[in-house]
């Protein structure tokens, strides 16, 4: 067999945006049947590179050769027609259209009158999706499917368009382990069919499971490329972060120092018997000043709901919340904020940042009333607050006036954190503070959590990342089906204990009363 043909070659690609050199002289070569890992921190240029390859952006310099010809795509449609398909991190389909119509949009089978052949479309859709482990009534609206199944439809769509190159941008961020396996088997099938795959992910396990080659980007430049097997995890991470290998080894992958001094025994937050119909069944927990309490459990166990109930964002049927000994009237977010509770929501895009506003405006948003006199805002005081927190949280922006939408995920998260810290809270509820941000920013956020606790804040940390939960928390309260099923303290805060508690293994810990109506 001849060596696999070069499918896509990128030479000296560059792209600048106002104030930022997003991509600087980057090369990339893809061969048929190659699964290529594209990694880098947020802001390293991965997204820009993908958007250049798929015709969303035009390059400032450099050339793209696809199947032997120089190409210049003007739109995603042109790239797709040529044979470069992309699946994005968020499902990019039409939720209200049926599964089959989504799968075939733009290439529907038609009869000789130009009218869609629905019977054939539905039949073919069913056949195609079966190959991806999705067995559903394809006439149902797409949104009635789980996110994983939707992602599979997107994948099936991308591949079905006669793709030679399939680009996957964090395709597993919303998949279950079983679905990840299905995805991997599809990727292997694509590889065997001679299709080149570009795989972008922050999950190292996945990269080593499916990828053969790797390109590492940092600050818009290619800093490494070659076989993935030649690069062990630690080397990969240090290349990506641009940090010394020894330093990474020494500090571990998370930035948590571990123990905190919890000053005084009086809890700063005491939540008792929080009940929300169908969601929470009498959840109680307390946090002392300077303590980081982790909230563990599976997706859907009531972690987010607990945080929302405490912060007044979710009306509770019964239960009490006390902040520093003062009872809080439930179900009122403004009252909770006044009492000193700040919630960093899970979905920062829809519940947190205002992308069109500047960093300064986003930070000042919540604290404005306190910086105003007679309804007039004191610009000087806003400037000083913004300046303080931009420095303290090390927010990287060209200026306080840069739009938050232009920042990387990690910096957006820091802006949100700054907004709430400006309120001078007593309790900070962090719901998945490091989700979707790169390793470097993750470490910074983790370090910040440590610092904040050291300053005497009570912190509630929700994370799906077990390592983060365990290394970051002094105590872990474990939820299952909306009720507390256990609490790990001291030396019991280990991954194994946590998993056992989640799994309901009573050996782990004397399990508190488990409500049966869950």
């Amino acid at each position: 067999m001849a060596p696999p043909a070069e499918v896509l070659a990128v030479r000296g690609l560059s792209k600048s945006f106002p104030g930022v050199r997003a991509l600087d002289d980057v090369d990339l070569t893809l061969h048929a049947g190659e699964v290529h890992a594209l990694i880098g921190e947020n802001g390293a240029g991965k997204s820009t590179l993908i958007k250049l390859l798929t015709g969303v952006y035009r390059p400032d310099a450099g050339e793209i050769t696809f199947q032997g010809h120089a190409v210049s795509f003007g739109t995603p449609l042109e790239a797709q027609k040529a044979g470069i398909s992309t699946i994005y991190q968020e499902v990019n389909l039409i939720p209200l259209l049926s599964v089959a119509r989504n799968l075939f949009l733009g290439r529907e089978p038609r009869n000789r009158f130009g009218v869609l052949d629905l019977a054939r479309m539905n039949r073919e859709a069913e056949d195609t999706l079966r190959g991806y482990g999705v067995q559903v009534d394809v006439r149902r609206p797409l949104r009635t499917l789980g996110v994983g199944a939707q992602q599979m439809v997107g994948l099936a769509r991308a591949v079905a368009t006669d793709a030679r190159v399939v680009i996957m941008d964090e395709p597993t961020s919303s998949l279950e382990p079983r679905e990840v396996e299905t995805l991997f088997s599809v990727i292997r099938r694509l590889r065997d069919a001679g299709i080149a795959v570009v795989y972008v992910s922050h999950r190292l396990d996945e990269l080593y499971a499916v990828c053969s080659t790797v390109t590492v980007l940092r600050d818009g430049r290619r800093v490494h490329h070659g076989s993935l097997a030649d690069l062990d995890r630690l080397a990969l991470v240090s290349t990506m972060l641009g940090r010394d290998l020894g330093e990474v080894r020494e500090e571990g992958l998370t930035k948590f120092t571990g123990d905190h001094q919890s000053a005084g025994s009086e809890p700063v937050l005491d939540a008792a018997d929080l009940t929300v119909p169908h969601k929470l069944h009498g959840v109680s927990l307390s946090i002392r000043p300077g303590e980081v309490v982790g909230l563990g459990g599976l997706l859907g166990s009531g972690r987010t709901e607990t945080a929302k109930a405490i912060s007044g964002a979710l009306p509770v049927r019964s239960g009490r919340v006390t902040v520093a000994g003062v009872p809080l009237r439930g179900g009122s977010a403004p009252a909770a904020i006044r009492a000193g509770i700040s919630l960093l929501p899970e979905d920062r895009k829809s519940e947190g940042i205002v992308p069109g506003l500047s960093v300064r405006e986003n930070i000042a948003l919540a604290v404005l009333p306190r910086l105003s006199r007679f309804g007039l805002v004191s610009e000087a005081r806003v400037d000083s607050v913004v300046d303080t927190f931009m420095k303290r949280l090390r927010i990287k922006a060209s200026s306080p006036h840069q739009k938050v939408g232009e920042l990387s995920g990690g910096n957006q998260q820091k802006v949100l954190l700054a907004r709430w810290l400006a309120m001078n809270p007593k309790v900070l509820l962090l719901d998945e503070p490091t989700r979707g941000i790169d390793v470097g920013a993750k470490a910074e956020v983790q370090k910040l959590v440590d610092e904040l606790a050291a300053d005497g804040l009570g912190v509630l940390l929700i994370s799906s990342d077990l390592e983060e939960l365990i290394e970051g928390s002094d105590r872990v309260v474990v939820l299952k089906d909306g009720a507390v099923v256990g609490e790990l303290t001291g030396d019991d805060v280990t991954e194994e204990r946590l998993m056992r508690t989640i799994a309901g293994d009573t050996l782990a810990e004397p399990v508190k009363e488990v409500t049966s109506d869950g």
Binding site: T75, P76, L77, Q80, K81, T86, Y88, N92, L93, I94, P95, L96, L97, R101, L105, G106, E108, R110, G114, V115, L116, L118, R143, T144, G146, G148, R157, T172, L175, E176, P177, V180, R203, L204, D205, P277, H278, K279, L298, L299, G300, S301, S464, D465, L466, E467, D481, G482, E495, E496, M499, R500, I502, A503, D505, G518
Partner: protein
């Protein structure tokens, strides 16, 4: 349970399906909600019509039904175009003015023959639709503002043509155009048949052609539609063009029916058309809708209007109160159903 990897897969494990009251409802309640959303207006129409025919002897007579059908036809044609626009997530406020403009142009053109009388309003109103579409799709202006400007502009054009409404153009009796508007076939007015044909064609285009798929896709998720390769701009231009064309056609037919171009017609018709479309189950936010629903919505508005006229003792001004209240109820019900189905 054993742990095999450092990054335990538990982190992405799914919802426990046994958990009660998970957001996405059961398939059955989902289907029921969908059914109510799609056919709720039809059920109400049937009920209102039944009650009306039992209460008023003059309601279910051939004459009354035929009158209602013909007077519904013009609004229905306008609502058909509006349905396409609203499914893309847009709105077209210019249709009332275009309706009046189409009527006057048809009457004016009828002096030069039926062909001119039909083509002139279609050309002018279609062109205004194209401009609407270009401004919405290419210049990315808000549909509300673009079509509001077109509404005012078309009204002005109308006044200019008619010398501020002083000139009224008549359509000669016995001409082909007059026959098109006033004649009947199988007991129903010709406009009714034309409307039905247009709705059948509209349903096929919307549900069974690529263009129709793009209309839904653009309204459902514009960014995703673009990434999936749907021609977003072209689709938008086409729906506004279609809406303009249909408004002009409806105006021309209406003029033929009245035998003259009346300048004061069409005031507030855009809102009536939007009401009918929404009552018919089309989501004002786009992405979901049916032309059949819009037809039912128009009929429902006209039946309510007719019933209030039948009551006689009730001031006809109240019919707008009833229509308004009805619209509010429908939108509340739709929002509720939509939340249940997590559409919004």
């Amino acid at each position: 349970m054993t742990v095999t990897k450092a990054d335990a897969p538990v982190t992405t494990a799914s919802n426990d399906p046994a958990g009660t009251g998970e957001p996405v409802g059961s398939a059955r309640s989902e289907r029921l909600s969908a059914l109510v959303q799609q056919h709720g207006a039809l059920a109400v129409l049937v009920i209102v019509s039944l009650v009306a025919s039992l209460s008023f002897d003059s309601f279910a007579t051939g004459d009354n039904v035929s009158n209602m059908a013909t007077s519904s036809a013009f609004l229905a044609i306008v609502a058909l175009g509006m349905t396409f626009v609203i499914i893309t997530g847009g709105i077209d406020l210019s249709v009332g003015s275009l309706f009046a403009l189409g009527g006057v142009l048809a009457a004016w053109g009828s002096r030069h023959g039926t062909l001119v009388a039909l083509l002139l309003p279609l050309a002018v109103c279609g062109l205004i639709g194209v401009v609407n579409g270009l401004l919405v799709a290419r210049s990315r202006l808000a549909p509300f503002i673009v079509t509001l400007a077109a509404m005012l502009g078309a009204r002005g054009l109308l006044l200019a043509i008619t010398d501020e409404g002083a000139d009224t153009f008549l359509i000669g009796k016995g001409s082909l155009l007059a026959e098109l508007g006033q004649g009947t076939t199988l007991g129903l007015g010709n406009p009714v048949w034309i409307t039905l044909a247009l709705f059948v064609a509209g349903a096929v285009v919307l549900r069974r052609t690529r263009f129709g798929q793009h209309v839904y896709a653009v309204g459902g998720n514009e960014d995703a539609a673009a990434l999936m390769g749907a021609p977003v701009a072209r689709t938008k231009i086409l729906v506004y063009t279609l809406s303009g064309l249909l408004a002009g056609l409806a105006g021309a037919l209406n003029a033929a029916w009245l035998a003259s171009g009346v300048t004061i017609l069409g005031n507030g018709m855009e809102l009536e058309a939007i009401s009918a479309v929404v009552i018919g189950g089309t989501l004002l936010t786009g992405g979901l809708g049916y032309v059949s629903g819009s037809l039912v919505g128009v009929l429902l508005l006209k039946v309510i209007q007719n019933v209030i006229n039948q009551i006689g003792s009730l001031d006809s001004s109240y019919q707008q109160v009833v229509s308004g209240a009805f619209l509010a109820v429908v939108v509340i019900a739709q929002t509720w159903l939509g939340r249940r189905r997590q559409l919004m």
